[in-house]
Amino acid sequence: MNPQSLLYNPILQRELTSRLRSPNALIALAIVALVSCGLVLMRWPGEASIDLVSQGSIQVFRPVTYAIAIAIMMLSPAFPATAIVSERKKGTLVLMLNSPTPPWMVYVGKLLANVLLGFLLFSVSLPAIFACYAMGGISITGHILPLLMVFLGMAFQYSALGLWVSSRSQSIDASLRWTYSILLFLVVLSIGPSVLVGKLSGIYAWIAQALTTLSPIPALQQITGALGQSKSIGISTGWVEYLLMCAFSTIGLAIATLYKLHPNMMDRARDAGKVIEAKESSWFRRISYLVDPNRRKSGIPFWLNPVMVKEFRTRKFGRLHWLLRLIAVGAVVSILLTVVAATGTVNWGVDRIASSMVLMQIGFLLLLGPSLGANLIASEVESGGWQLMRASPISPWRILTGKLMSTFLTLILLLFATLPGYVMMSYIQPAIGGQVSNVIISLLIATAMVTILSACVSAFSKTSAAATAGSYALLLLLFAGTLLIWLGRGNPFGPVFVERALLFNPAATALAEMKAPGFETFQLIPKGWYVGLAICAAGLIVLILRIARLTRPE
């Protein structure tokens, strides 16, 4: 690979200039700079003395580190996730692949442009990091350089991930949905087995530890001196292991993406839509599709909101046959978890089973919710359907309720799939009936929150891609961001601050109610419910006003 050809890569130059010209890039850079400097200012010691060994500087350094890490997680994958699929849709990818520019150069241009932007993102926080260094107790080789390498590793890994998903996706919103879902797994769920299961041995322990190298959280905890925190929750990996995993995963993802970057990938026939008659349906098809998407639908009945029915029918993922499959998986997993615990196969208490189930439900919510909600209004406006609905006599209220219900009902169905597990749990330990009810209420609030907030983002976005990225970013910030604060409990964050942060996360409310490991000391009910309901009410008011504005004559 000639370094000069990399430097004069036209794809890299175009991507960089177009991104840097965008006001959003400037806003993102300004926010990161302001937040990192603001955190340093807030935690700057009052006394005019510098202590080389004290923990004062670490307490400033830690929140800055986590803030930048969250910014990289939220912003880095968004552009690569749309990069290839949007170029394919616009027809510019085929022009590039049919030019003398080799596919690897197209790939490297897109990857490097995003990594450089990521680099720019965390470089604006360098003054804040060096302010921590100036306080003492932090070294360049022991803290700052490893931290910058971890940030760079994150930028490479998430950019490569976004490009890989983008090369395989058929639509921009599906690409964003899958990218953020995998990101959620990489960052949070990968440390789940170690945190939830506790001490393991043999091959299981090795797999659980290997999974933790996918997440930057252990690496950041090691660098910011919170290794004890990691060890207390069963994690023993650090930043070196994380960087190695980043390198391997980035190379693997690059090879997989380059394999797909071929002019042949554009050579796909449009699906004209085949209708399967009842008599043609095989027994296998009848079992695998309880609701066959290829069977002719009857008309929309008068008692159903037509907008809601339309939303269900126009989804690829999230149509009834997919939902039924997910519900079946959810039901089976929840029963299995409970049976395993009941038969004493593993020494899990009700708290650990309930925690696993809550995490599984929140995983489902965050996987499906933002992409379903974000497409409610933005994609309608984008496709021209909104204009047609405005020209029809249907009321704005009916449009809004139809759209919200299509997402809310889908997510509720998914949540209820785990009810058999809870029923069995209550049967094993009847005393926890009240706790189970509280968990279900918390999850219902979480569902409403996911639906309303992503619909709000959608109502203010010009494109469905921006709406999907915005919804994932907002909800991950709310759900994963507050859990990051929880991970820093005791050091640097005090118990009061952590509890207040967790009030914004209904998943934390549910976990605290089931006394999940690490959540035993928090009492979040009913305050967490009130906060959740207040967020839902505020979001709903904003949404109603916005829909009224979008539907009224200009």
């Binding site: 699906d271 998407p293 126009t314 496709s383 405005r390 029809s392 200009e554």
Partner: protein
């Protein structure tokens, strides 16, 4: 059939300092097709949006079948079938499901809707594509499904924004026949298009707007005679060496307001004129008297495009 169905009176729409529409007054009778012509940004879409109740005028009024478009938008939505220039496609939705959805949001009861969908699909010749996904249809097919969608609630007036845009010649002919058929059924149509020869073949009335102002309104013949009072004449000679001598003879007769252009390669000479038939006969006589072998002496037809260009050129 001369009752007015669509009428605008002194319709004006401003956005801040910008005047999108300035004092527009037009009327269309039942069963007529109005061709709404103008360059991009002329105010066509603004007018259409006011007529379908999506925008409110700053001053003036617009009525459809006597119903005020800004005061009674919900009634207007039942009276008008609107097809915007963007199709409004949904993923994973078949043509039948698509029409069923729009029928439902127009409040058509289930059984009536089922029959109505069959009816509009037959009218627009889209029955064979009812099981196909709307996003997989070609542009011409989508335009026909778009018209089927506007017909679902049986509106009195159809407003079609660029229905022939991007269609191949065969699809364009089919579209033209469909629009004429709808007008014959008593529907009133307002059609915008950039393909002016297409409009002149189907429209009873045309309105030309530029920069928000109405420049011409009336039947195609009325508009052309008001905008293009000069007639274009062409003289063709037998061979190239006579082009020069014919030019000399014509220059002696023609004035400065009748600029002559000659094309030796085509053996032709052209000039615009307002002369009477007798004066033109005298001109031909002079050419023949000068022993110039004239093979053709004819009037070139002026079309809507010339009329439009004569207006657009002034702005």
């Amino acid at each position: 059939m001369s009752d007015t169905v669509v009428e605008t009176k002194n319709l004006t729409k401003t956005y801040g300092d910008f005047t999108a529409l300035n004092d527009l007054s037009i009327h269309v009778n039942r069963g007529q097709i109005l061709g709404f012509i103008g360059p991009n940004g002329a105010g066509k879409t603004t007018t259409i949006k006011i007529l379908v109740g999506l925008s409110k005028p700053t001053s003036g009024s617009a009525t459809i079948a006597g119903v005020d478009c800004s005061q009674n938008a919900s009634k207007i939505k039942q009276l008008v079938g609107y097809m915007p220039d963007k199709f409004g496609s949904y993923d994973n939705m078949r043509v039948h499901e698509y029409l069923d959805f729009f029928g439902a949001i127009f409040g058509i009861p289930g059984k009536v809707r089922k029959a109505r969908i069959q009816e509009v699909m037959e009218t627009t010749n889209t029955t064979y594509m009812q099981d196909r996904y709307v996003e997989s249809l070609s542009h011409g097919m989508q335009q026909r499904v778009g018209i089927a969608r506007t017909l679902l609630h049986n509106p009195e007036v159809l407003i079609l924004d660029e229905p022939a845009n991007g269609l191949d010649p065969k699809a364009r002919i089919e579209m033209r026949q469909l629009l004429l058929q709808l007008a014959a059924q008593g529907k009133t149509l307002i059609v915008t298009s950039h393909i002016l020869p297409e409009l002149s073949r189907i429209c009873n009335v045309v309105a030309i707007v530029t920069a928000g102002k109405l420049r011409a309104f009336g039947s195609v013949d009325e508009v052309m005679s008001s905008l293009c009072p000069q007639r274009n004449y062409e003289v063709q000679v037998a061979n190239a060496e006579h082009v020069g001598s014919a030019e000399r003879v014509l220059r002696e007769v023609l004035s400065e307001s009748e600029p002559l252009t000659s094309s030796p390669a085509e053996l032709t000479l052209r000039f615009p004129t307002v002369r009477t038939e007798a004066e033109l006969a005298d001109l031909l006589h002079k050419l023949v008297a000068a022993k110039i072998p004239v093979t053709q002496f004819r009037e070139l037809t002026t079309d809507l495009e010339d009329a439009f260009l004569s207006v657009a050129g002034k702005d």
